[in-house]
């Protein structure tokens, strides 16, 4: 018994230390300061404080969750508060050090402003340290209590808090979008204060979110099941109506939202097109392509070169004439780069495609090709597309081109998925040798995947060039490939709706949070790691792939991890 108690104490120290180290990391990397001007709840809670205290909350949660299984509830609550306290000691220590020695020479972010934030409104050092310890302990305690609440209620609370957070972040967007509309003014006045949500708004959203979660959890909300029970004819009508309604909403969106949100949506849309393409290569066919941005660049540069009226003007075609050429060239490049890597598998393929992407980037930047594609200065004056007299001049108009592109590409991807070639891709993903033995022609199947994926990226690139009106090589670096890869992984590898969800989360949300721009890649990197560790099948998983990744597969043979490694050498 004594030994077990000791184990728990050291466990508390461990959890607390992790919380403290993560909190210090969040501080040093600059998030607390950068997010501190973003009020979620007026004059009370900033996003910076949320970033500062969420490690303590989380570790308090985990500690209580673990302690509950071994010990009494009381002990669990106590341990979560103690974890919070230990975490608070770390932060307080950083505060003390930062105030007494100049840490700024190394840790850029330990500025006087940051120290002021860490004082949490207290004037004296002693008061600040006490405030840190007390608040951390309380937040840790809340984490513990959260772990002990029944699942139904904690879930409801979580949904409610997420809605509050989301609405807090969206304040600026809401004001820009609806600020001038008459119907919005009283609503806006009620939910938002000068900065952040008003208390009334926060409570309203908390209740709304929690109520929604409880209602969904009660099992009464099952429209899909209801539709499935209907007779065939009625079912058809309902789904047609749902599609029509969805389409009308999508068509009306830019008019309703205005210019800035449309801009965000077009960016998201371009990533959706690319995501659908990479999803075919990585998700369906299982070929990890890190040089995907190359095809995006080829599409963009083709449109740029063929349509520009600037210094590099060539034929001066219209966008619509250049578009098929761009898609075709990207597709051709996909086949061309696909041939050499036909015999490669897994990680070597990833590195080679990464190499291709880098080679193309270096070539685009070089003086050698500068007379044709402008080198670092890029291509300027790319005309906007037009149909007759209608010019797609702003984001509100470009939106329709992007939407048309998504619908087209989405339809193609959806049809291909269950077509002969789609099934061949999946078979190849599971096991190349077996697929070949089953009569699948690996060469053409692989090249088909590369070509389709590349064509989609080419389309996205073409639209991208027309949207911006000028293109620069900096827009086509490895980061784009990683972004696209992240969004299909978050959405669920091989899942079509997953691409849309992933793009909205990973591309849409950061656009709302300008301060977030600096931490975007940091976040993506952490997300890739976390997804692989916790939820490799993604948030909207595709069925077969989820089964493949989970270990509960009924008849899966135990494959030794190193077995396939020998094959690629």
């Amino acid at each position: 018994m004594d030994k077990e108690l000791k184990f728990s104490w050291s466990e508390i120290l461990k959890f607390g230390a992790i919380a403290g180290i993560v909190a210090i990391y969040v501080i040093l990397v600059g998030m607390v300061e950068a997010f501190n001007d973003r009020y979620i709840i007026s004059e009370t809670v900033t996003l910076g404080q949320i970033a500062l205290f969420s490690p303590v909350f989380l570790l308090g949660y985990f500690a209580a969750d673990k302690a509950r299984q071994i010990k009494s509830t009381g002990f669990a609550i106590l341990s979560s508060a103690l974890v919070g306290l230990v975490g608070g000691i770390f932060v307080a220590a950083l505060l003390f050090l930062g105030a007494n020695i100049n840490m700024r020479a190394v840790f850029l972010n330990v500025s006087p402003d940051l120290l002021k934030i860490l004082h949490l409104g207290q004037e004296t050092m002693l008061g600040a340290i006490a405030a840190n310890l007390i608040i951390s302990a309380i937040v840790g305690l809340f984490g513990g209590l959260f772990a002990l609440t029944p699942h139904k209620w904690s879930n409801a609370l979580l949904v409610g808090l997420s809605i509050v957070l989301l609405m807090g972040i969206m304040q600026e967007l809401m004001t820009i979008t609806f600020g001038s509309k008459d119907w919005y003014k009283p609503i806006g006045k009620f939910i938002y204060a000068q900065k952040g949500l008003s208390w009334g708004g926060a409570i309203l959203f908390l209740i709304l979110g929690a109520a929604y979660s409880l209602w969904r959890g009660s099992g009464k909300f099952r429209p899909a099941a209801k539709v499935a029970k209907m007779p065939a004819k009625q079912r058809m009508t309902v789904s047609l109506a749902a599609w029509a309604l969805g389409l009308i909403i999508l068509l009306a969106l830019p008019k309703f939202l205005g210019s800035y949100p449309s801009e965000i949506l077009t960016t998201v849309g371009i990533y959706i097109i690319m995501g659908l393409g990479l999803n075919i290569v990585v998700g369906f066919a299982g070929l990890l392509d890190l040089g995907y941005v190359a095809f995006f660049a080829i599409g963009a540069y083709t449109v740029g070169v063929l349509t520009t009226s600037g210094k590099l003007a060539t034929v001066g075609w219209s966008f619509w004439m250049a578009l098929p050429i761009a898609v075709f060239l990207a597709m051709f490049a996909g086949v061309l780069l696909g041939i050499p890597v036909l015999k490669m598998r897994g990680d070597y393929l990833a590195i080679v495609t990464l190499g291709f992407g880098e080679i193309i980037r270096v070539l685009v930047l070089s003086d050698w090709l500068k007379p044709f594609i402008g080198g670092a200065q890029g291509i300027l004056q790319i005309p906007k597309p037009h149909i007759g007299g209608f010019v797609f001049k702003g984001p509100q108009q470009m939106y329709y081109i992007v939407l048309a592109g998504i619908l087209l590409v989405g339809y193609v991807a959806w049809r291909l998925r269950d077509a002969r070639v789609g099934r061949a891709w999946k078979a190849m993903r599971e096991d190349e040798d077996v697929a070949e033995a089953m009569g699948i022609h690996l060469v053409s199947t692989k090249l088909m995947a590369f070509a389709t994926g590349a064509a989609f990226a080419g389309l996205a690139g073409a639209i991208f060039a027309a949207k911006l009106g000028s293109i620069f090589p900096q827009s086509f670096n490895l980061i784009v490939s990683i972004n696209v890869l992240s969004l299909i992984i978050v959405g669920g590898i091989g899942s079509l709706p997953g691409v849309v969800v992933g793009a909205l989360i990973l591309v849409g949300l950061p656009e709302l949070l300008r301060e977030f721009a600096d931490f975007r890649m940091l976040f993506y990197g952490a997300l890739l790691v976390a997804m692989m560790l916790v939820k490799p099948e993604g948030f909207v998983p595709e069925k077969t792939h989820a089964r493949e990744l989970s270990e509960k597969e009924p008849f899966a043979p135990e494959i030794e991890p190193e077995a396939p490694a020998r094959e690629i050498i």
Binding site: N109, I351, L528, L549
Partner: protein
Amino acid sequence: MFHRFMRRHDTTDIVMWLIGFGLLAAVLYGSYVTLSSGKYDASVWLDFTIFGLAQGSVYALIALGYTLVYGILFMINFAHGEVFTGGVFTAYFVAIALENSGFIERHWVLSLLILMAVAMTVSVLVAVVLERIAYRPLRGAPRLVPLITAIGASFFLQYTYRGIYGSGIKTYPDFPALDGKLNMFGREWPILTVQALVIVVAALMMIFLYWYVQKTKAGKAMRAVAEDKEAAALMGIDVDRVIVNTFALGGSMAGVAGILYALLFKQVNAFMGFIPGIKAFTAAVLGGIGNVPGAMLGGLFLGIVESLGPSLILDGLGIPSPYQLKDAIAFTLLVLVLIFRPSGIMGERLSEKKA
């Protein structure tokens, strides 16, 4: 005759050969034009080669990290370039402190040792934490899973360094003792002192590593785990510990490589590790990944090719400002090796030994 040829080799093989021959012809033609034009004389070529050797030995040290990990876990530690950055970037702040106190001028050897110790410590720490958090839980997962994790970790670390230390390019302090040409045994040698030091230190590290892997008990355990994890575990080897050891060893090599890199190129920033990382991976593949001497030779070879390539080949082909395409040469080499000889230069010997 033709039919038999076609039956033995499919179309893609033939396409590949044509590409290969085309590139080979371009390389030969470019070299021929440059050499016959006499644009550069022998001493310039010697300088290029020595510079290539120096940067190649840095690549070789980084490549050892890839090769060691691959040899044991069969995964590409994509974030190894960031392990390298972590050490040298952290040591930068120590270097600045040493310079401000005048310590570098007074005891440059000691300062160098201190910097290396700092860089090694941080790199080892990064490598070990990386293994613990990101890779260990994924042992035995499908192959793409750890690779994607490694890519994520790589970006996470890059932007962590940027967030913590700032985004600017920082200039490493100068070592006055290392300026100019090497002066030894009463004459001046045609090599910069820095380059000589880099080559010597890298060689010493590689000898140490070779000794460690071949002669010590820990090295023996490492080789046993690389051969067969289960059998090694049955023989009483703590596999987890050996894997941590491997990451630490790779990390320490990367730490030293970082300081050498800083001595050669003088600049550090948060993203500096990425390109050398990929190049070192190229070097590891060149030498046959998983093969320690192979990684060393691959690094040196890549360094020399990269240093000679632009002026020897690209200049001859009439490409303006060929040095911009330096990286493209390394990546092309990577692609070619992976396509034509994925087992690497020394791969054959390795497979014989393991068979």
